[in-house]
Symmetry: C2
Subunit: 200 residues, 2 copies
């Protein structure tokens, strides 16, 4: 029982071409957004091992990282009741909802370090939202489904698991550094095109 | 028990930079050769799951494929007594011996399709050989160690598992098309640099 991963492969090829052609964040996001939207509008390509919730923690499964670390693609899996702390990214990111639903609460931080909630939106399958130091970088994400895991596919302008970023405690203004890493020691083999190549 | 995969990651980053800078095969091979030689001079970085022989067949484990398919890196594992058929590659390849030893027999093919053996060499750990339509593309590889698996690390100028190439039957001159594919559905996660990033 193997999943046809070609939608993800095609997305990664095109995303690689985009970041190879321009470093302009707005141009990258404009081109990447419809590709990610198309990817998460189909829920038939993600292998089961990258969909598994953990009983305690939300999971971050790396699906692909560009060797030059210009992009990474990650499957985020929230179990029932799970949420992130309030955090930033320091690089651009696009979030595409694949399965279930998630709530994203946006925050702004003033010069004194005080956090104010500025927005709250629910993302449903096929929907996209963006984060970055330019468009708004601080948010908290929660599973919006009470009884099932939710999964979103994230694309970032860096190897996000190795980026030094920040967690914020809204009540106290406290800031802590963190580096997320990844939950998985193996990534999907996206490149076995032998069946199609034999048929061609 | 996790293997420190950073030597392989560093190799892939530099190999990606090389093929991003030039398309000239001789220049690519000149620059890639010392990097691969250094990589296979250390046998401490290959995770165990990409070292496993199969009782019947030699194994080809994809370690990395460039999204633009300019390079792929593969772990070849020969069990005792195993060998490839006589085959070609159609793209450049570098073979670096990691563990054990292998025999490579080189062939030339004349206009009538007749194969003549032109060379035979034994590759030992830390040693490199090259194949390509320019430097000589037809060979047969065998495990040179009678009682243990041998492992070599191959770098190719394409997604080698998806390339249409050829197997030759020396006695009859018969040629068959083949596409090798890969033995593995998951590849190593090379990009979890979170431990080093946290320490930095
Ligand atoms: Fe986030
Ligand atoms: Fe070969
Ligand atoms: Mg020799």
């Amino acid at each position: 029982m193997s999943t046809d991963i070609s939608r993800l492969r095609d997305f990664i090829v095109r995303a690689t071409e985009i970041v190879g052609a321009t470093k302009d964040e707005a141009a990258v996001l404009d081109q990447m957004r419809p590709l990610l939207q198309d990817l998460v509008s189909h829920d038939d390509w993600l292998p089961e091992e990258y969909t598994r919730p953990h009983p305690q923690y939300y999971q971050q499964y790396l699906l692909h990282c560009d060797p030059l670390e210009r992009i990474s693609v990650v499957s985020f899996v929230w179990g029932p009741g799970q949420s992130t702390p309030v955090h930033d990214h320091t690089v651009w990111g696009l979030v595409g909802m694949l399965r279930g639903a998630e709530t994203s609460e946006s925050f702004e931080r003033d010069a004194a370090g005080k956090l104010t909630k500025t927005d709250e939106e629910i993302l449903r399958p096929g929907e996209i939202c963006a984060v970055s130091p330019i468009v708004g970088d601080i948010h908290k994400v929660s599973n919006a489904v009470p009884d099932k895991p939710s999964i979103s596919i994230h694309v970032y302008g860096a190897n996000i698991g190795a980026v030094k970023r920040h967690v914020f405690v809204p009540d106290t203004g406290e800031v802590k550094s963190f580096v997320s890493g990844y939950a998985n020691a193996t990534t999907p083999n996206l490149w076995d095109r032998s069946r199609e190549a034999r048929g061609a």
